[in-house]
Symmetry: C2
DNA sequence: ATCAAAAATGTATGCGCATACATTGCGCTG
DNA sequence: CAGCGCAATGTATGCGCATACATTTTTGAT
């Protein structure tokens, strides 16, 4: 009998199963707790024979190590916490898949939460996450409250900021220059011969930065103002359609190019244009952002700005891992971006 | 000086910051550790005055409670772990957003991982997650290995299985009957006058169940075989296009209806059909699954099977919470489903 | 003013593990 | 065959907090 202090239980299953501990396993295998601990974390330091007996005991008892106790004792939680703006936006979640995978292979688990593009909730989440004593933390973007920066500094753990770059990262940042992307699209469209342009932008700080850089540059190049339709909230096909409709109904924009802050809204814009009988790109050209998987599959295939998300995931993960291993690492990684010319612009 | 055993650090920042503990905060506020603990978890049991002094001390020191130690001592981690097949599939992540939110409001944090539609990796993840001693666990689907069931039973925590129902849940399940959905769509399409039908299905156990129920029922009703194009892997617009192309190129299917296992592949199918000059729904009608946000926004608007995901999220969360509070609860929740008739079928 | 009850705080303890250090036994060199 | 070195295991301890219980202080009713 491992534990003898079972609670008095009702008929319904509460905590009936007395949790098995390393001591219980050891008792069964004829060794002490510390040998069981070693068998699990440093098997080379335990004899072949006891290793087998311990393994048998583990199987017999269904022992599951208590990582909570382990973390408290060792001061390493093997947790990496990650905060992303939205769980439902593939741009962020596809990154997370890569990132988690890479970390999992190195023994870390990812504690993921959604901030909702909201600084106040980010602050609260940072505190909650830090209370779990993660070994590292990943944040989206480079704008964080003073309170957040202070707490993170106090935690003394590696911090990676992604999707953007700055000369003064909290610790490490991996991303690209959003203004530069806006400028590049402006130049691309001007070079394609467009004299008029508009933008469709979601309420996202980075998207707004791309938009204003685009508008500023395109205005200089073409001497024409660049109307913007803000979708409010998050980008979606529906929001893109609505924004495109708004642009046509409330401005004299009938010919030119539209730079959308997301492939999703770009797709919506295309659907709206086609429904209204416009030709894409002959009447209105569309440029998206993000190179989501569907961008090449819609009709017409979407011209968009691509960032190497796979590389972003890998770099973010390996930066964290390197830092955790104590290796000095580069703290600002500029991934760059690429305009993928397809049919829509 | 809270801690006096700082490690010898290199030039680069390792763990320099000596972590502040409740004892440190207490010392500063002139009370003991336990009063600080109480101030945080049972503020009503601490006098107004000391409460204020403790708060000041917390602010001054930047104290962040150590939830790891708390969990070890109290045997409650305030963690709920959740395993979903894919982080990039909005169907699952939108559910998670609701679920996490609801739990967060009740003081729980969600530890989320992706299983990748893969039983082996699910087993491994279950063990890893259980090692963090979550207070409850959420799984997707009702098919789990014996080993997994055993471990979960041993953990003695509430377990919710979602997206499907069964008479023998591990503990609680919230979902709907996938076969019934397949049957309903078959009857719907037959009633609409279709004599021919095909399916486009992803490699997902539940999708396959809907598909086979659909095919079986439609065959009975129409006396015509139902060809299937498996997209392999996950549903996507690209996969839907390819599957639709395959269907047309490799069968004599030219007129009828197609039941897709996801709105995403349905959307792809529509794009492919239009690119080939087919009219939707006049030539070929399309039914999706999931009622994702874009379903109403594409052209033609997508007829699809809707499940109340919001309700799913709420029910899953509140079932867990109720069970954690010790309240006896219903263990099988059938959410049902609804065919939303729009333009595509 | 008195005393019991309630409020406020403190003391003692252990959760389950990792880690530093101590001990044992054994093969091997010279 | 003494003595050294290493492999294998054990002992002792504490991580930071929650909780049961003990003690002190305050309150209020008489």
């Amino acid at each position: 009998m491992p534990n003898d202090h079972k609670m008095a239980d009702g008929i319904f299953n509460k905590k009936v199963t007395s949790r098995v501990t390393m001591a219980d396993v050891g008792r069964l295998a004829g060794v002490t707790q510390v040998t069981v601990s070693r068998a699990l974390s440093h098997p080379d330091k335990v004899s072949k024979d006891t290793l087998r007996r311990i393994q048998d005991a583990i199987d017999a008892t269904g022992f599951v190590p208590n990582a909570v106790a382990g973390a408290l004792a060792s001061k390493r939680s093997n947790l990496v916490s990650a905060l992303i703006p939205s769980l439902t936006n593939v741009v962020y979640t596809s990154f997370m898949a890569t990132f988690s995978d890479h970390l999992r292979q190195n023994g870390y688990q990812v504690l993921l939460s959604e901030t909702g593009f909201n600084t106040a909730s980010e602050d609260a989440l940072i505190a909650t996450h830090l209370s779990r004593r993660p070994d590292a933390m990943l944040l989206t973007g480079i704008h964080h409250s003073d309170k957040a920066r202070k707490q993170l500094q106090g935690a003394g753990i590696p911090v990676v900021e992604i999707w953007d770059i700055t000369d003064e990262p909290i610790d490490i940042c991996v991303g690209f220059n959003h203004s530069a992307a806006g400028h590049a699209v402006a130049e691309y469209l001007k070079a394609k011969g467009h004299a008029f342009a508009a933008t469709i932008t979601a309420d996202d700080e980075r998207a707004l930065r791309r938009q204003s850089a685009f508008a500023e540059r395109f205005t200089v190049l073409s001497q024409n103002a660049v109307p913007d339709a803000n979708t409010g909230g998050t980008a979606s096909i529906g929001a893109g359609r609505a924004a495109m409709a708004h642009l046509i109904d409330h401005s004299d924009f009938r010919k030119g190019a539209v730079f959308c802050s997301s492939d999703l809204s770009a797709h919506g814009a295309i659907i709206e244009l086609r429904a209204r009988g416009f030709r894409v790109p002959q009447d209105i050209a569309i440029v998206g952002f993000g190179d989501q998987d569907f961008a090449r599959d819609i009709d017409p295939a979407l011209t968009t700005v691509a960032v190497d998300r796979l590389r972003l995931g890998h770099l973010a993960a390996s930066s964290v891992l390197d830092k955790l291993m104590g290796q000095p690492i580069k703290s600002v990684h500029d991934l760059g971006f690429k305009i993928l010319t397809r049919l829509s612009a």
